[in-house]
Amino acid sequence: MYKYSYRPYTSGDENSINDLYAKITGRIRSKAAYFWQWQNAPGGKGEVWVIEAELPNGQKMLIGHHGIMPVRFSYGQDDLLFGKTENTFVHPDFRSKILYPRFERRFAYHYENRFHALFSTLGPRAAIRQRQAQGYVSEHLWKTYIWGLRPLSDIYYLISYYSKRYNKSAEMFIPVVKNESDSYTRLPGINIRCYNDHDALFIDFFRTFWSSVKRSYPVTPSRYHEDLKWRFWDNPYISYQSLILDSELYGSAMAVISNTVPGTIRVDDFIVEHPKSKSFRLLFEALITWARMHGAYRVIFTTTSDSVDWVGHESLQLQPNFSFARRIYDIFAKSDVRMPRKICTNGQVFGITCSNWFVTSMIFEGIS
């Protein structure tokens, strides 16, 4: 019989945490990536709790992990701190030996007062069920929008998918996205500037834009310079391109995009100056036009059902869309992937609820 104990993270644990992470997920995470994720975020150090088993020889082995990443959010003028559940895992040999929910309940008692709200993003059904048992509400669905930018976009996607799967290069068969920095594209009524991670760091627009627009937004992640720097420009996994869209008629917008699948642009974040007018739609259309001009055949944008309700469904019903597969999928497939959320006692005084959030892929870490 083993003896079990739990404690918060101490320096040095990252090695055994990464070992267990690799065992569970198959992914190797470096120490630098661990510290980026759990120690260096603008919201502060993560809440990291470990479960240990004392082996017959007296040594302790790390068998479980529960983490809460502090993520800065805004609600109108208020700056808040939310906690994101991440890296919940138990060593496979011990899953039937311990009752993990008991441990998580104890951990939550210690950290919940630090945050205004808690949320999870995606995860195995069992983990989502755990959250619901802890009082999280899973009302809102994740929605992924895909636009095919050219005829044959579905074919290009299939080539790209299978070439990646079989580790072959597909670049001679499909369009590729130009990777550039400090570039300027002029569209009718809208100018678009594009910067890579290194150059974006020094652009004043990204220092001031969020402060000037945040009061127009509901509950949403903060986009202050420190948040953008940590989430995108210092990201150890993915390189991003940060775009500024300027329009005299529709105001400004900021977009952050990534290109991890050849020919596909993922819009990881999109913020406009006037979100509740047709400017969201028109500036997003401009972004898609830019993507097509720069070689992409596909654009993806992930958000939640309440985010879409808030900006307006018509904002994302953009044409043309050459992806027939996507249209068929949208008709027949019923997505049931939800985003669990919980308002903590500290958050209730700000009037925030589990609905009416504006959320993008920004709240993932870019780990595919």
């Binding site: 019989m1 083993y2 003896k3 079990y4 899953r95 039937s96 030996k97 311990i98 009752l99 993990y100 929910p101 008991r102 441990f103 069992a126 069920r129 755990q130 048992a133």
Partner: protein, 74 residues
């Protein structure tokens, strides 16, 4: 003295998706589709019945009605 019936009642009170009256005494809970969250809810009720917490070290060994009965009555 705790009875088998009181343990079956605690399982019912946990609200899990199984009829405890049909559970064999030595049937492993996980073999009947109960996951860790179901077990958590069951042991919340068992601890209420017992009047005290059950140690994490022991709880993994209590995998059937029979093992719970023997533990509570030791």
């Amino acid at each position: 003295m705790f009875t088998i019936e009181s343990i079956r009642q605690a399982i019912k009170d946990a609200g899990v998706d199984i009829n405890p009256d049909t559970l064999p005494l030595d049937g492993e809970f996980r073999n009947f589709g109960l996951d860790s969250l179901d077990m958590f809810n069951i042991f919340v009720e068992i601890e209420k019945l017992n009047g005290s917490q059950i140690s994490d070290d022991i709880i993994g060994e209590l995998t059937s009605i029979k093992s719970i009965f023997e533990y509570l009555n030791k």
